[in-house]
């Protein structure tokens, strides 16, 4: 087999221009494969980071009790006790669960919150807001609030409030000014604007207010417990499995972000499928290129193959010579294409620094090893037909050519 390798190598080096052209063709295919892998992978990362990067990956909400019902012995409903409109379901033992949840592998941060509706009033101007009370120090646990601050400080304390840019502009508020916040429970508090954020999300910037958990307790008459616990993971793709684990650990209804995100997942899957198609076409191009080049080589070398057979080379030897050529072409083209792909992706910003207006290429998702492996396998498969054709050469006819 070592000798067959020598002959294969000699055949490749004997026609340097042809081999270089063939290897370049394979390299271009591999380059496309890697470029598409990086683009599709980067695009998926980009879309996910833009859509679910700033939301909770797993959310635990207090379950609302069913209304009390009085039923007659015959099974007829006699009385239904209407639930108080201002009463909010609470996770009363949140403090107990937090250390447990924080200890689950893959959990990056946990944020116990009290959320509710309210009205912000300044002078004659009134705006409806969604209020979120978070623990001081955990302001950026889920939404990167610190990263979106455009004015003031993200730090939340007693009597402080942070608003979105659009809302602050609508109310003509600036840092240090005071406003009134009335909760849906009817509790009113005078708060000082300590910070303004801008996420680029219209509904967030125009109708969201952040206060401290202590302020929220007052506003929503909730001396203990929280309304929800939001959890951020290291890998958002692990949300389903981690949610199951938290459910098993705490018995709470942990809901992963993927619940209700079927359309997004379908879109990402469709995008991934498109990538697979493009990469498959690139591989098919490689296979056809290698197969056709080796078929031509086989035809050109028929007399030599005939001589080899006459000198005692078996069919297996001839097959090995041509399959080895295919493997070497695939290996060289694969490595060259992977190197070119890597170099071409270097100028693009890293996955954590995608910028608007640029292609979201992710150099870490180039699938370099996979591209080289598939190329070598493809080239070997492509060489089998020419190799079998070479092995079937009739020495008598070939020598006479």
């Amino acid at each position: 087999m070592l000798y067959a390798l020598k002959i294969a190598t000699r055949y490749l080096t004997a026609s340097k221009a042809q081999t270089a052209l063939l290897v370049t063709g394979v390299a271009v295919g591999v380059f496309i494969f890697i470029f598409m892998s990086a683009l599709i992978g980067g695009l998926a990362e980009f879309i996910l980071s833009r859509t679910v990067g700033d939301i909770s990956h797993i959310t635990i909400e207090a379950e609302t009790d069913d209304p009390s019902v009085l039923i007659s012995p015959e099974g007829h409903v006699l009385v239904v006790a209407e639930r108080g409109r201002t009463r909010t379901a609470t996770l009363s033992e949140a403090a107990t669960w937090l250390p447990l949840i924080e200890g689950v592998p893959g959990v990056r941060s946990v944020s116990p919150q009290i959320s509710g509706a309210g009205f912000v009033t300044r002078g004659a101007q009134v705006a409806q807001v969604s209020v979120t009370g978070v623990e001081p120090g955990r302001e950026s646990a889920i939404l990167d609030l610190a990263g979106y601050m455009v004015e003031g400080d993200v730090r939340l304390g007693s009597g402080l409030i942070v608003l979105g840019r659009d809302l602050a502009d609508d109310l003509a508020l600036s840092i240090g000014q005071t406003l009134r916040l009335e909760s849906s429970n009817g509790v009113t508090a005078a708060l000082t604007l300590s910070g303004i954020f801008k996420t680029g999300n219209g509904s967030m910037d125009s109708a969201r207010a952040f206060v401290s958990l202590a302020t929220a307790r007052t506003l929503y008459a909730m001396p203990q417990g929280v309304t929800r616990i939001e959890i951020k993971l290291d890998d958002l793709n692990a949300a389903d499995a981690t949610a199951l684990r938290i459910r098993a650990l705490t018995g709470l209804d942990a809901v992963p972000w993927t619940d209700g995100a079927e359309q997004l997942m379908e879109a990402l899957n469709a995008q991934a499928q498109t990538g697979y198609f493009l990469k498959t076409f690139a591989l098919i191009t490689i296979v056809i290129g290698v197969a056709s080049a080796l078929l031509l080589s086989t035809y050109r070398r028929r007399p030599e193959i005939g001589i080899m057979r006459a000198m005692g080379a078996g069919r297996g030897f001839v097959i090995f010579v041509f399959v080895t050529q295919g493997a070497l072409i695939g290996l060289m083209g694969g490595i060259m294409g992977a190197a070119l792909g890597y170099l071409a992706l270097l100028p693009f910003p890293s996955r954590d620094a995608f910028e608007p207006g640029t292609l979201p290429m992710d150099i870490t998702q180039g699938s370099y090893g996979l591209a080289i492996t598939l190329t070598v396998i493809g080239a070997i498969l492509a060489s089998i037909l020419p190799a079998r054709s070479a092995a079937r050469v009739d020495p008598v006819t070939a020598i006479g050519q």
Partner: protein, 225 residues
């Protein structure tokens, strides 16, 4: 002398039906070890077909062929390939060297393909054979750069590489000038005398046939003399 090979009642027909051409018509022949025989006959008489069958590159339509006590008719392709490699050498009219290989690499091919690599022993024997062929200064030359006579001498060295009992030569000098042809035939004669290798040389040339101790004349698909 002992029989090296014996063919009996060989028939070979190319094509079928109305296009069928019968080339060998019951040919029988025996070659003894150490013989140097010329195979003579007009074009189309069946010389090349006979050489091809004796070289195990083709099977006859019918008849028997025994060489070194082994039945060549019933052997399968793999067995014939191994047998050919070990016991039969070929010299063709157009030398048929591997153009991308050096003279030495061409000569050691039959051994290297059997061993799976070019062993030092094989390379030493290849050098020795090329030296005997007067090509000591052309050992590492690309075969494509050699003259016609030199190529044919490389081909003779290659045929002798595995010390075969039989060398079949089909018009080995047909493409050479008289001096080169005589040089090649002298070398073949020398090998035959010194190593006892059997040579069967197909030729149209009476002078070349004169180098051989036995003349076998083929005509109309049978041995006629």
């Amino acid at each position: 002398m002992s029989a090296l090979l014996e063919v009996t009642d060989l028939f070979k027909t190319y094509g079928t039906g109305e296009a069928a051409t019968r080339v060998l018509r019951g040919l029988s022949l025996r070659l003894d070890t150490g013989e140097m025989a010329a195979l003579l006959g007009p074009s189309g008489s069946g010389k090349s077909t006979l050489l091809t069958i004796l070289g195990t590159l083709m099977k006859p339509t019918s008849g028997s062929y025994v060489m070194l006590g082994e039945d060549m008719i019933s052997a399968d392709d793999r067995a014939l390939t191994e047998f050919r490699n070990a016991h039969i050498g070929f010299v063709f009219q157009f030398h048929n060297l591997l153009p991308d290989f050096t003279a030495l690499e061409n000569v050691v091919f039959p051994t290297a393909v059997r061993e799976g690599r070019e062993t030092p022993a094989a390379r030493a024997r290849g050098r020795d054979l090329l030296s005997r062929m007067g090509l000591a200064d052309r050992i590492e030359f690309p075969s494509a750069n050699l003259s016609g006579g030199q190529k044919q001498r490389v081909a003779v060295a290659r045929a002798l590489m595995n010390s075969p009992e039989l060398v079949l030569a089909d018009e080995p000098t047909g493409n050479l000038d008289r001096d080169s042809a005589n040089q090649v035939m002298d070398l073949i004669g020398q090998i035959n005398r010194e190593e006892g290798t059997t040579f069967l040389i197909s030729t149209h040339d009476e002078k070349i046939a004169g180098f051989c101790r036995r003349q076998i004349v083929v005509g109309d698909g049978v041995v006629t003399g």
